[in-house]
Symmetry: C2
DNA sequence: TATAATGTGCTTGTGTTAGTTGCAATTGAT
DNA sequence: ATCAATTGCAACTAACACAAGCACATTATA
């Protein structure tokens, strides 16, 4: 999976990979190791583990350690939304900017902008909540349920 | 202006700098050189020229070459919206992803996701259209009109 | 116990963006 | 006409964010 231009200016870069991983988990309907998922999405096992762990802490997938371990969906494909995934992979990359060094007035302006952008992002997440993984899968023949 | 963590996962990085620049132009209500603007927003003249040029092609500012040249607003602060600015600084960084190399099905899935994200971004822009530069300025004492 | 997986720290690679320099073209002041 | 100040633009460098990849401790199961 290339890490070139993302095409749109919204969403963390991991978002699409996370969706791909969940789609494959939904299709297999089984436990899959990070290595197997990485193969399917042309990524790498270690990176997938990090992404899948973010999905695990929000309860979208469950991780099992040890032999025969891996990841398995904890919710049905028609219950998981793109908004859920966006939120899950955003955690940890949404700390507020450190204070800018362009003066008091500039800093205040920046804070106000930050508020507005935060609000816009929340609305984006709401918008993405209308699409479930099942919806997305049904848009592609190969994954159709 | 730090280029560290952006705090939110939406908008091109230049967005906030572009807003700052326009706010200063609105406050001064006069022609300002790239060097003067760069000073105000703690950035650099050449970089500001790049950003301001994007704002010029969409008609938000006007650029004048030569001695006594610089940039000046072409619209009133209460007519320029954050959505306009977002669109302006997004041009040229929103080409679609190159085709991913994770198989036909994966590529199709990716295209569908891309459509959904594009739609989400358009809605973000619409959302940002409700805020004018004048609104933003009135949120900060120093810039209050 | 041996095996196969996750979790995670660390290093390396790479693409994107900002910073910087240099200079031609342009425009107004003198 | 000359000079000074500015944009526009190309090229290069630097910084940063993120993914890729390795190593290994930990964990769980056959």
């Amino acid at each position: 999976m290339s890490s070139a231009n993302r095409g749109v200016n919204i969403g963390p870069p991991r978002f699409k990979i996370a969706v791909h991983a969940i789609v494959w988990l939904a299709k297999s309907n089984n436990i899959l190791s990070s290595a197997m998922i990485a193969d399917q999405v042309s990524s790498h096992a270690t990176f997938m583990r990090r992404v899948l762990q973010q999905l695990a802490v929000t309860g979208i997938v469950e991780s099992r350690g040890g032999r025969e371990g891996g990841y398995i969906l904890r919710q049905d494909a028609c219950q998981i939304t793109l908004g859920d995934i966006y939120s899950a992979v955003s955690t940890g990359c949404a700390e507020p900017d450190e204070d800018v060094d362009c003066g008091e007035a500039g800093a205040q302006l920046d804070q106000e902008l930050e508020k507005i952008l935060y609000e816009a992002e929340q609305q984006t997440i709401d918008h993405l909540r209308q699409y479930t993984i099942a919806d997305v899968m049904n848009r592609v023949d190969f994954f159709k349920i």
